[in-house]
Symmetry: D2
Subunit: 291 residues, 4 copies
Amino acid sequence: MIRLKFSLLLEYDIADPGCDLVFNIHAAHTDRQAVVCEALRLSQNVINYLSVDHVTHNRVLRFSGSPGNLRVFYDATVDVNHYVGMPSHTWEVPIPQLPEPVLQYVFSSRYCESDRLLEFASRAFGLQTRGYSRVQFIRDWVLSHTKFESNTSNVHTSAVDTLLACKGVCRDFAHLMIALCRAINIPARFVTGIDYGADPALGPTDFHAYVEVYLADHNGAHWYLFDPSGTAIPMGFVRMATGRDAADVAFATIFGPVVAMPPIVQIEAIPGADGILNLPRLSSEALSSID
Amino acid sequence: MIRLKFSLLLEYDIADPGCDLVFNIHAAHTDRQAVVCEALRLSQNVINYLSVDHVTHNRVLRFSGSPGNLRVFYDATVDVNHYVGMPSHTWEVPIPQLPEPVLQYVFSSRYCESDRLLEFASRAFGLQTRGYSRVQFIRDWVLSHTKFESNTSNVHTSAVDTLLACKGVCRDFAHLMIALCRAINIPARFVTGIDYGADPALGPTDFHAYVEVYLADHNGAHWYLFDPSGTAIPMGFVRMATGRDAADVAFATIFGPVVAMPPIVQIEAIPGADGILNLPRLSSEALSSID
Amino acid sequence: MIRLKFSLLLEYDIADPGCDLVFNIHAAHTDRQAVVCEALRLSQNVINYLSVDHVTHNRVLRFSGSPGNLRVFYDATVDVNHYVGMPSHTWEVPIPQLPEPVLQYVFSSRYCESDRLLEFASRAFGLQTRGYSRVQFIRDWVLSHTKFESNTSNVHTSAVDTLLACKGVCRDFAHLMIALCRAINIPARFVTGIDYGADPALGPTDFHAYVEVYLADHNGAHWYLFDPSGTAIPMGFVRMATGRDAADVAFATIFGPVVAMPPIVQIEAIPGADGILNLPRLSSEALSSID
Amino acid sequence: MIRLKFSLLLEYDIADPGCDLVFNIHAAHTDRQAVVCEALRLSQNVINYLSVDHVTHNRVLRFSGSPGNLRVFYDATVDVNHYVGMPSHTWEVPIPQLPEPVLQYVFSSRYCESDRLLEFASRAFGLQTRGYSRVQFIRDWVLSHTKFESNTSNVHTSAVDTLLACKGVCRDFAHLMIALCRAINIPARFVTGIDYGADPALGPTDFHAYVEVYLADHNGAHWYLFDPSGTAIPMGFVRMATGRDAADVAFATIFGPVVAMPPIVQIEAIPGADGILNLPRLSSEALSSID
């Protein structure tokens, strides 16, 4: 059990005539991530809607912002109790046995155009031994093929772009790994959150994007965490939202003219209810934080 | 109430070592489309899984096919009882008031890259009066901008490609209209099925793709049917599946090497339980077949 | 006759192990643009090659830069004596009558993918009366369709991207106009230089990109200047290089790792050999500065 | 010295109101390819223009076709006397030493978007020993990465598309190899012609596309032939035209509505002026057919 406490501050200048905002910034409640306490404060006095999707556990905040300054402050403490599996005993699930809600994560999506990578992925990964190790091999391939470099991609950048450009940020690493997994029929999806233990050389703490891959062991199937960017510690990841790619779960989607300040994000590991401080660490085990 | 009876025959030659198949060919059960009777026959004796998604009403058939010939025969009779609204009293729903499951249909997807069309759509449609008439205007624009031409697109063709090429088939018309709607924040999605009354000049009866747009009137919000291809009669449409675009609800997604024969599809309008034959007709009303 | 005097200073920090540099910064010598005087100074003592292409009149400077600071200073005074034609008496040249060296400017190129815009351009411009006025119509269409906005495009941005994004800088306006002309079989090319009279709201004087279109009048065929960006005065344009698109005639193409400072560019109109100061002005005439 | 005799028959049905046609079907005259005899016959009595580009040696035929049937018949006998170099003594030419007309072949073009492959090519080929062997390595990489498969590409397919799809025809292999060479600053271009000795498993004799790469040995620089498709014998290649990619030198570019029949092409090796029959053979030497 790891207890993580984090806060984030988002700030915007909204132009006339205001705009609609959608946020994925709430910590998810899952069987393996409990929200101990949390608080949301908005600097504008607006009616806001918080919905929970019972399949993905995403918590979506929406409201209409008025012209002027807007500050969104959220903090939470969560307890993460990972499912820990053995990579060598974790296998791929055949398509006909996938639960129906998982099936969509084999299909091509906006930023993960697996339909264009079928042959490429099949040549590169088709002959690898199936199972967790093949997914790990893809993750390692993406990491070695791609250079982490800020400001090299934008909101339109897709997996195909990243495969060609060989550079990007965490979002791009995730999209490329997801597209390659799907291209060989392995369900994979995008997950966003905040990281404890991210590489400080990359700048201040920020949102992070991971990959979840659907694999099974003798306890059933799980969505396992992978960090293809290699910049963080999966065990230190607080999950917010999951979707097919960044189109679904951008931390902020804004419908209208705004100027955004850089987000300010802080996170720390603190002692749990039992008074014990468990620090996230790099691990070679198979980890899941959702169920 | 319109009663439609249809059948479809799909045939494949499956190569070694077999393949996994996913079909969206079952008529949907919705509050407005009742399946009176149906039958599925497979020429191979395989375990098959039929799942129903309770949000979309999609019914997904999956199984592993063995090498050799495979025939999939499905027939059904459905009663469609459309919700009929008045276009002039049907409006757009602001983003913050969209139900959470609808929100994804405002986002960009594989074949409907609305993120690349924000400015284009805003210039073309931003100043139109909001509501059903604006959506109809977009539908008419797509129809006049695009030429129906077989074999001009393929499985990778997206809305952006169609906008440039100015030609395509029903799938492409649908993707373009969806992308343009989303680009101005109107939820839109892809729906597939079989059509009574399709233009015979386009060849034998086949699968068809439509658009559904989320709009509201004084009875609440509905997913309204639009046929941007202009080749069919919305009232004659039997709905099968709905999704973000063709990536989600291809009538067949096949994971492995097969040769597919052309599908054989038949449909007719027949008298209903009351013995009365109602024929689908072109209508200027706002129609929904889902809820 | 207009006399323009300009200077430009380019500065780079070159990393190990040095790099090759290609510049298109010399004023072209053409029958209609005479170089009265010019000087080039390099801060590094390197062997440099200056070649002139006798078809395009491009003057290409090349050398290998050493690690460290590099400053390239060039200034020149030119006399521009435009060919002035009457738009209403200027027509399009049929493909079979194009000189062989002109033919390539009808073909698709890296940033002007006319092959993807055949139908789009044909629908938008196919029915316009042929001749200079049709080209002017395309130029006006591009100007009204596209918003001048810095930092919205990059080195990979093409005409198709700009058509969709509806924004860009002078390079992007030029690429879009060129692609649309070629798509209806009108030879068009990219020309770069320095502008007297550019809109000061866009920042300090900088390099500029124009379009040249091949049309004919009773004196023969000429490459006529068009400024689709609408930010400058064609008569105030000093031509440097021309090519199929920016791939050919970037003012600097650098093969290796460098950091570039913003270029410093100055231009003024001065009295000619006869002591008379002619200022460039907006004109509705058809202008050519090459032959 | 190899003597090759070939003929080709192109046939079109031209719709109203006729169309302009541009052909690159004449055998090139170069220092190393002599046209012994040739004949062109057109079934329509039209004025036709044949231009020769003195830099590329391309011979471009143009005319306006009338509605109705058009047959273009061309036959020729050529003597090819290759320059034969030693791969191990053939090196790359630094950018500053490239002749100005060669420089354009380092730049990105429509179907060879080297600007998008800089990093990809640098990672794959940047550390190979420079020279002919590195180019051969790229050629072998393209051949092993790509599957020859008819009807998998179209007129819009580019090097990037082929890199992702891992399949295509000779045109696509050539574009991919060219783009990768340029991405590491090696001049490369597209060359079209007819092949003696093409793999008969690929169907009847047809036009073929090769790659030429600019490299130097102690005799100076040459454009060396490479066949990345691996389906032909470079020594059996009759050169027609060369350009930056297929946009420049399609064997036929047609401006208007036509239906094209499959071309009928025949080629044979015959005894030379000295009565000796030299058959083209596979060779590990460095070959050039242009100068």
